[in-house]
């Protein structure tokens, strides 16, 4: 028996919105410690890793660890019926073939429930090595979304370079070129939300496909801050920490100019 209840039901809705562009179907691995999901996008360029801690829920019970294979676009449709302030309860039997969603309005005057069929999904789990990133930038999640959307007007590849004076996002395309530089402002008294922290051991310069960054940026509504972690020749990590609930991490393989 698996049962999880979340007063801030909206969180689940936002998580699925942040995943469904990249992943069409995935296994939610449930265990006593919480819910985890790991999935590659269909073209195998990026990997999403979701963690929702058991403590983050108001009630969480899982008697047996198992994967729940769910089609995310169907799940997103079901979650469309969930209102902003609804309380969400997820339920699944140990040997069942469906998952149950219940939405209760705050005042308990409206209750709806939905059942979604589960599916067997053949997917591999990847061991993600602990990387000691050479540069980490933490900034406002909405600002990062804006940068990605704005730059994608000009081209499809963005060069992210972290240097002494800040982090620079550059794009060049047929129409022209564009650069946006964000500077570390921890010393000045900027509002917490707009603060940019750059922690750099050595300068890093890598190219990435903007299309994926734009999809990652759909996670911005979940939290205020995002961290970008970079090192030479390894995937970029874009991490959204959701306080007291978990995290949503995206890994994106770089583009390499030409191999020898």
């Amino acid at each position: 028996m698996f049962e999880a209840r979340l007063t801030k039901g909206e969180l689940i809705k936002k998580v699925i919105e942040a995943l469904k562009d990249l992943v069409t179907e995935a296994n939610f691995d449930i265990s006593a410690t919480g819910i985890q999901l790991q999935a590659m996008d269909s073209s195998h360029v990026s990997l999403c890793a979701l963690q929702m801690k058991a403590e983050g829920f108001d009630h969480f019970r899982c008697d047996r660890s198992m994967p729940l294979g769910i089609n995310l676009s169907s799940m997103s449709k079901v979650l469309k019926c969930c209102n902003k302030d609804d309380i969400v309860t997820l339920k699944a039997e140990d040997d069942g073939d469906s998952i149950n969603f219940m939405f209760e309005s705050k005042d308990q005057d409206k209750i709806s429930d939905f059942e979604l069929k589960l599916m067997d999904i053949d997917s591999e789990h990847f061991g993600i090595p602990d990387t000691d990133y050479k540069a980490t930038v933490t900034m406002s999640a909405s600002e990062f979304t804006r940068i990605c959307n704005d730059l994608s007007i000009l081209g499809e590849t963005v060069a992210i370079s972290v240097g002494k004076d800040g982090v620079r996002f550059s794009v060049s395309g047929e129409m022209g070129t564009g650069n946006m530089t964000v500077r570390d402002n921890t010393s000045s008294d900027t509002k917490e939300a707009d603060r940019v922290e750059i922690d750099m051991e050595e300068p890093v310069n890598l190219n990435f496909a903007l299309r994926y960054l734009k999809s990652f940026a759909k996670a911005a509504p979940l939290t205020d801050r995002v961290s970008l972690c970079l090192s030479r020749d390894v995937p970029l990590l874009v991490k959204y920490e959701i306080p007291e609930f978990g995290s949503l991490s995206y890994y994106l393989a770089p583009k390499i100019d030409d191999e020898s």
Binding site: V45, D97, E259
Partner: protein
């Protein structure tokens, strides 16, 4: 060509070893392609009614058309093709080649007859059978590929075995061919339908050798024996033995050698075993296990810049292709080159062994049977049993 009925055998007994992929998802992959077979296929497929495409001088250009547009399509999708051309035919194939010559002569005669009778359908059918790839056509394609910046390799012997050697050595990700004997030669991954045109809407089919062996419960040597029994290009086969029996008999006797020296009713009695098989099977085994192939380590694969003016000069100037179309395709080549190479995420993260849900505990598998997607292995009863056995071992 190839191994008779092998693809069906795998589909029935090892469906888990086949995976339908998406063309776009092979970006960044290096893929070895048997050029000689491709040229032949283009000559057959790229046609207008019964006639091959020709330029104003009547020189056939079907092969160039196919080679150019399909290669552009691959490069545009980020795939890195390597073309391997046939060298001399292997000595073993001599008998088979003689048969092919006989068939060609027959087809030419049939075509003449059909033309006389004016039967359009037959004309088309037989004219396809008379197709032969000439040396000049190979040279044309080589020239075109070099202009396109695509690496070309001359195999010392058959292209298939060199493709397989490149694949087994990890120089390329897969071998792109329709010929199932690429697996028998030891290619770790075989991709079919890769050079099919867009319009056919045939997604690539990926076969993995390791899974084929695991699910068929055969060693590589036994797999080669099954292939020889199914009927390969190099020897005659036992009468009345299809892929099913071949698999059963090799599993039963352990090897082709043991089968031929047993008292099995398939091999006992006059004329049951063709002489070419009884005398030649060991040589055929050797041909598959250690074929004459280019040394993968000595091969350097380089994808260079496309020479646009060179391509236009050759394709439009000499071969009479439409300049506008060729140029617009060349633009794709140049653009693909400038895009930078998108690396795949699997290059960084290793799959954890045993985490594949297909290998999940039995309880889950039983529960899964009621779910929307049936397990692929469930299609063939025996295959499913074999798959389940393999899972437990894991």
């Amino acid at each position: 060509m190839g191994i008779h009925g092998l693809s069906k055998l795998i589909a029935d007994h090892a469906p888990g070893a086949m995976k339908e992929g998406k063309f776009e998802n092979y970006f960044g992959r290096k893929i070895a392609i048997d050029a000689s077979t491709s040229i032949y296929q283009f000559l057959v497929a790229v046609r207008h009614e019964e006639n091959a495409l020709t330029n104003a001088d009547g020189v056939v250009t079907s092969h160039l058309n196919g080679m150019f547009y399909r290669t552009v399509r691959m490069i545009d999708a980020g795939i890195k093709p390597v073309y391997v051309f046939d060298g001399k035919p292997p000595t073993m194939k001599g008998g088979e080649l003689a048969k092919r010559h006989a068939r060609a002569a027959q087809a030419t005669a049939d075509l003449a007859k059909a033309k006389e009778e004016g039967n359009q359908e037959d004309i088309e059918k037989f004219s396809k059978r008379t197709v032969r790839a000439t040396k000049q056509q190979s040279l044309d394609c080589k020239k075109l590929l070099e202009l396109m910046g695509v690496p070309v390799i001359d195999a010392p012997c058959e292209a298939e075995s060199t493709c397989a050697a490149l694949c087994a050595a990890g120089k390329v990700f897969a071998v792109g061919t329709e010929d199932m004997d690429a697996l028998t030669f030891g290619s770790t991954v075989l991709l079919r339908h890769l050079t099919y045109s867009d319009t056919k809407k045939m997604p690539p089919m990926e076969y993995r050798l390791a899974d084929v062996l695991r699910l068929l419960e055969l060693s590589m040597a036994q797999f080669i024996d099954v292939c020889i029994l199914c009927g390969c290009d190099y020897t005659d086969k036992l009468k009345g033995v299809g892929p099913e029996t071949a698999l059963k008999k090799i599993r039963e006797h352990g090897s082709l050698h043991a089968l031929l020296h047993s008292t099995d009713k398939l091999v006992v009695g006059e004329d049951k075993v063709p002489a070419s098989l009884r005398e030649g099977y060991e040589e055929v085994q050797r041909l598959f296990t250690s074929p004459e192939a280019a040394d993968p380590e000595a091969v350097e694969l380089r994808w260079g810049e496309p020479d646009v003016e060179g391509i236009v000069g050759f394709m439009c100037g000499e071969m009479g292709f439409d300049e506008k179309r060729i140029r617009s395709s060349c633009e794709k080549l140049v653009k693909a080159k400038g895009k930078g190479n998108q690396v795949r995420i699997e290059n960084f993260f290793a799959a954890k062994p045993g985490t594949n849900p297909a290998a999940a505990p039995a309880g889950k598998a039983a529960a899964g049977s009621g779910k929307r997607k049936a397990e692929p292995a469930a299609k063939a009863g025996k295959g499913a049993a074999a798959a389940a056995g393999a899972k437990k071992k894991k």
